[in-house]
């Protein structure tokens, strides 16, 4: 039997919402008064499940509740869940940045965490100095770093600039150097949070490869990511966290399926009042809607129907050269295609954008829509997951095959079918000769 290197028992974390102010002081005094009399903290009894989008009543929320799991030596465990499900809180507790409210965890071996690439990099220091600084912050000793120095520089590919202050680096070079240091850490347990979301495609591939190596060397890795492909390829097993609780553990394939199915709710139309509309101080989204204008059924979209997307925005300041980039994504957040609107020269009021996707273009599957609101070539705000809808299969005419249509789109293209008579073919040959 393999050794257990991490054991998490009944781990919970409670957060207080809102501002620190006089209210906090009175709660602290009450808490102190209870502890003086040897009673349990009264605020541990209150608190609600961690639902990000539901307005709660109380001031206390359980970011994590009764988390139990074990990790064996050499295991690479994925942790997935929606934004705000509690993944990062779990990692923060395991990497000792904050402590649990109740419960405990035990660890065997040295633990290093990578919640961000380039933690503690100082812009004024050179690449060389930052390698030593960053390495020391991550827990390496000077001699360990010195022995790996050449390897780190080679991996980063910024050899030429190693004695230049990192503030002169391009953001790509910066990230490469930072990841190179982190990749050469050699703790027994490594905790990684979404660091792959950086760098260009080539470098991401290199990072994934490096992480596979790390896992292959028998080290234990906890990996949190939204990138399902990465989780699937790196981690044999995963756990799914939802609203602060573990809802599923098992092989990554099963857990990811459960996660994606859970996401399968449909949002055909969303409307907001200005005050709680998504957006920022420049623009708010008031409405997002998907419909099929021609069809009689309003609650289903089919492969045969024309699809219309509609977005209404309120500009809060004057913006110039506005356009809308719309991303059609699959459930795994992979962008299938993107389309942009024409440019609106100037607006400081309400703006409506509509876009029609022709019939027989999308396949029968779930789509998510992300929208980037762009002004003067820069993103004012990105509205992720504005809409989510499923395109349904209809009766296929003239086809005897009923299986799942492969691919992420199903464009109906202009096919020409002509029967060629053998006589014509021989005549052509003769002409050419």
């Amino acid at each position: 039997m393999k050794d257990t290197v991490i054991r998490v028992e009944n781990l919970s974390k409670q957060y207080r919402l809102g501002m620190v102010g006089t209210g906090t002081l009175s709660h602290d005094l009450k808490r102190w008064w209870y502890s003086v009399r040897g009673k349990e903290d009264p605020f541990l009894k209150v608190g609600e499940a961690n639902k990000r989008d539901v307005k709660g009543e109380g001031d206390y929320v359980w970011a994590l509740r009764n988390i139990n799991f074990e990790v064996k030596k050499g295991e690479v465990l994925g942790i997935i869940g929606k934004n705000g499900a509690g993944k990062s809180t779990l990692l923060k507790i395991l990497s000792r940045i904050t402590s649990p409210t109740t419960g405990e965890f035990k660890v065997k071996g040295r633990i290093a965490s990578l919640l961000e690439v380039g933690t503690g990099f100082h812009p004024e220091l050179t690449g060389r100095e930052n390698i030593f600084l960053n390495g020391a912050i991550l827990g390496m000793t000077k001699s360990e770093i010195r022995s790996k120095f050449d390897e780190i520089v080679a991996f980063s590919g910024v050899e030429r600039y190693i004695d230049t202050p990192v503030k002169r680096y391009s953001s790509g070079m910066y990230v490469r150097l930072a990841f190179a240091v982190a990749a050469h850490l050699e703790p027994e347990i490594l905790i990684i949070d979404e660091v792959l979301a950086v760098g260009d495609a080539e470098f991401q591939k290199k990072c994934l490869g490096k992480m596979k190596d790390v896992a292959g060397q028998g080290r234990t890795v906890l990996f949190v990511s939204h990138n399902m492909t990465a989780v699937k390829s790196l981690c044999p097993n995963s756990i799914l966290i939802k609203q602060g609780e573990i809802v599923k553990t098992g092989t990554s394939a099963d857990v990811i399926d459960a996660y994606l199915n859970d996401e399968r709710q449909v949002d055909f139309e969303k409307e907001w009042k200005l005050n709680d509309a998504p957006g920022n101080d420049k623009v708010r989204m008031l409405k997002a809607k998907v419909s099929s204008p021609g069809s009689k059924q309003t609650d289903t979209l089919t492969v045969e129907s024309e699809i219309e997307l509609e977005f209404i925005f309120q500009n809060l300041t004057q913006l110039n050269n506005i356009n809308l980039s719309t991303y059609f994504c699959g459930l795994d957040d992979f962008v299938i295609f993107a389309t942009t609107s024409k440019v609106v020269e100037r607006s400081n009021g309400l703006l409506k954008f509509t876009c029609r996707v022709p019939a027989r273009f999308l396949n029968a599957m779930m789509y998510k829509i992300d929208v980037l609101y762009v002004s003067d070539s820069s993103v004012v705000h990105s509205f992720t997951h504005c809409l989510q809808f499923e395109i349904e299969e209809t009766e296929r005419k003239g086809s005897y095959w009923f299986g799942k249509w492969p691919g992420v789109i199903r464009p109906s293209l202009n096919w020409q079918e002509t029967e060629i008579k053998e006589q014509n073919l021989t005549m052509k040959k003769a002409e050419n000769a």
Partner: protein
């Protein structure tokens, strides 16, 4: 079945005395790197560089000379005014800079602390060490003025054996500043009210030492000054150079014990706070 060997067990509330000081030792290379970082980043892209550390005490010395000597006619004993104020300021500056910097440890490092774990004590310790550079520069300035007075003004200088105490005095100040700084930083993570008091308090504290006046020979005022642990340190520092000061082993022992107590309380509080300050900072 034998009890399993865990290298680390994290619970919501560990014992007050579970200090992990060994961890700090393990991260000693990080202390060195932080010191280097502070040193390099302090001078980059300033034209005058370390000269700024000289200008500041010089201005303060001449200001004190003007206000306390010329206007208020306060005595500086047998020590020339410039040397009297400069010696006091050199020592005081080290303490107050360390104190001010370490008292914001949690607040100013929150982004770093929020992303990676290392024993948080590493940060204030490296601050104490990197501030030594400033102290040394100002100390050299003081020595320069001392030499000037000896050569051109015929000041009698006798090398006293108490000069050997200087490293101990610096260490004492560093630890005192560390202890009191981390107490303040632990208390201000949640309620920032105290921060407002600190800036004012440090200045106030300076006037309760002998930076600007001679230690009164008797009375309540003398007791008040001596209650301040910095007084004995400043007096000992002056005594090492000028034979006409107050030096008393008892007072120095008092300062040392005071420092140890403060440091101990500081480390306890700091350890308590570092575990969950991210939720409240």
């Amino acid at each position: 079945m034998p009890e399993e060997q865990w290298t680390l067990v994290v619970k919501p509330k560990n014992s007050w005395f579970d200090l992990h000081l060994k961890d700090v030792w393990h991260y000693r290379d990080l202390v060195a790197m932080f010191v280097k970082r502070d040193f390099i980043s302090a001078y980059k892209q300033t034209v005058l560089g370390p000269l700024w550390f000289i200008i500041q005490p010089l201005c303060a010395t001449y200001l004190f000379l003007f206000v306390f000597s010329s206007i208020a006619h306060l005595s500086t004993g047998n020590i020339p005014g410039v040397l009297f104020y400069l010696s006091g300021l050199t020592v005081w500056n080290y303490f107050s800079t360390c104190f001010n910097k370490t008292s914001v440890t949690f607040v100013s490092n929150s982004t770093l602390f929020g992303k990676v774990y290392f024993p948080r004590l590493v940060s204030p310790i490296s601050t104490i060490i990197s501030t030594l550079v400033t102290f040394l520069i100002q100390f050299l300035l003081f020595l320069g003025f001392l030499a000037y007075y000896v050569i051109f003004n015929g000041l009698q200088l006798q090398l006293s054996p108490y000069l050997l105490l200087l490293p101990y005095l610096v260490l004492l100040m560093g630890l005192l500043a560390l202890g009191s700084g981390i107490i303040i930083s632990s208390l201000t993570t949640k309620y920032r009210d105290l921060t407002n008091l600190v800036a004012f308090g440090v200045q106030f504290l300076m006037f309760l030492t002998t930076v600007v006046y001679v230690l009164p020979s008797a009375g309540k005022k003398r007791a008040l000054f001596l209650a301040n642990p910095m007084t004995a340190i400043i007096e000992s520092f002056r005594y090492a150079f000028f034979p006409t000061g107050n030096f008393n082993w008892h007072q120095l022992a008092y300062s040392s014990i005071f420092t140890l107590v403060i440091l101990f309380i500081g480390i306890l509080l700091f350890n308590r706070t570092e575990k969950s300050f991210m939720d409240t900072v």
